[in-house]
Symmetry: C2
Subunit: 331 residues, 2 copies
């Protein structure tokens, strides 16, 4: 075989592989929630992190906690198009769920933090979010005996510090993971777990010549840790470009997980779509702007039924609610 | 016996009775949480009320829920000296705990609402609290299918209305009651349940010639449903006078429960004292102002140890934390 011919065959093979559905193993929950060696998950760290997560004293006003916006009653988000922060200022981006951030390699819509530890203090310190001086919060926690003892149990010898606050919050967030959803039972072989419409929807979702959704929403967590400009009408937010100033990143935002997606409306980085139907319609028309548009986006020409099937599939990604008890905060 | 002599004897008897400790039965939990005939407690009503209580969509901003300020992580209060409301405006009075409001005959610091049903919509509608138009919130809830079905189960045939929102919230609040505290185990006969210091403190607390605290903080819920001016320095708030314009009510506020009192610092209607020690010291000096001072207040001349004993007793009124799971709100 001539080398040019071999190349053509190989490209053909690659393309046809691309079009094939991912192996079912890709959708199985990873065996372990990843955690850095410097911050292994322990029950004491999770308990401390949970208390901190629910504690409004972590904000400058002592009125806003992480859980105010990442509300476990609302899919660990806030149900708002875009977030509200200190002074009740309306912000420019939607509150992302913290569900399954444990599995992500970059945090925030623009990916500016690499780990949960790096991320944890960001919103606390941001003047438009929790508006808390970080040295002050350390001093405040140090005079609460209950906290001092919790920090000592969680991080012996390390004490109350910005670093241990961040590590404890990250440890708690690593427990906020999706539960088994109908989709998972189906992927493991229970054919009755989801409807025929949802099964068709998953096929369109995965099919690179059809829905092409899985190009970005891939694997167990239905995201690729990547950033894409998906052609949202009127978007003026530079997104990832502020971190990585290459033109293709202009207006690009991190692919969100689709786990528990029915709990976190409205959708997109700016909350511009109220329903999953609107989101699927957006992708079906290949987005609304062309500038820097991610090459995966193109008009899909899905029928109304096919779009409905994809929505039915998306609904199968919501698991049983995680039972969250409210912690009693140290006085 | 001459009638004037008989009168003297009777007055003497009454005074001596006043000085005696209340019978132990007075401190036992009432057999049932009271509820009006028009709103009997059912699991469906409590479940609905709990969802509404945690739902920020009950506020004009869709960001503040009842639980934001009546935070179960902080003794159903907020840990702040005075409340924060819509627009993060700092208000003039402390957020009262909702613990054991089920047993109270008047609600709010100034008692302006008689029942939990009457009270429930007040803070939702107040422009400085949740700032929610009540007709609007009814309309908003009516388009959430999960809520429509919860209301139908809780109040068959009544639908989503201001009245059923109030009744459901009241039903949930009737489940927020104190749990067994060390004091309760002691009152039932377990002599090891509280310290000797706390037992002494309870004696001073009850003794009309000594601490005189039980003149207002009486019975199981350690309150009298009454209003008293307790001589707080610098207080400009008219309190109960706004509702009942008789001079004695100027600067008078409702006696708060002492149940779980260690969880709800800071103290007083304006949060002016950070610790129980400061509160006991205030009463020991008979308050700081004389104008309209409640006649129960007078300098007590308690020793430092006696004051410490009273604080030790107060600490025995905190029960095991009530386990509260976060509800999953209908989407």
């Amino acid at each position: 075989m001539k080398s040019s011919m071999m190349m053509t065959v190989m490209i053909g093979l690659l393309l046809s592989m691309n079009l094939q559905a991912a192996p079912k193993e890709d959708y199985l929950r990873p065996e372990k929630v990843p955690a850095p060696a410097s911050n292994k998950i322990t029950p004491e760290r999770v308990e401390l992190g949970k208390a901190l997560f629910f504690d409004p004293r972590l904000s400058g006003s002592n009125w806003i906690s992480c859980a105010t916006c990442h509300n476990p009653a609302l899919g660990w988000s806030d149900g708002l198009p875009t977030a509200i922060g200190h002074g009740m200022k309306v912000l420019g981006r939607a509150t992302p769920t913290i569900l399954n951030t444990a599995y992500q390699r970059k945090q925030m819509w623009d990916g500016r933090f690499r780990s949960l530890e790096d991320q944890a203090l960001g919103p606390i310190a941001a003047d438009v979010e929790m508006n808390q001086d970080l040295d002050e919060v350390v001093a405040e926690l140090k005079v609460i005996p209950g906290y001092v003892s919790m920090f000592e149990k969680a991080y012996p010898g390390e004490g109350v510090s910005q670093a241990t606050i961040a590590k404890a919050l990250a440890s708690f967030e690593r427990t906020v993971v999706s539960t088994e959803a109908p989709f998972d039972r189906w992927i493991k072989g229970d054919e009755t777990a989801i409807s025929e419409s949802a099964k068709n929807g998953f096929a369109w979702f995965e099919d690179g010549s059809k829905g092409n959704c899985a190009a970005c929403h891939m694997g167990f967590n239905f995201m690729d840790d990547g950033f894409h400009n998906v052609g949202l009408k009127g978007n003026q937010d530079a997104g990832r470009f502020a971190e990585v100033p290459v033109p293709v990143m202009k207006g690009a935002f991190k692919t969100p997980t689709l786990r528990d997606i029915t709990l976190t409306a409205p959708y997109m980085h700016n909350g511009m779509y109220a329903t999953l139907e609107e989101v699927v319609a957006h992708y079906n028309r290949g987005g609304d702007t062309k500038d820097n548009l991610d090459p995966n986006l193109k008009p899909l020409n899905l029928t109304a039924q096919e779009q409905k099937d994809i929505v039915e599939f998306l609904k199968t990604l919501t698991g049983e609610p995680m039972v969250v008890t409210v912690p009693q905060l140290p006085q």
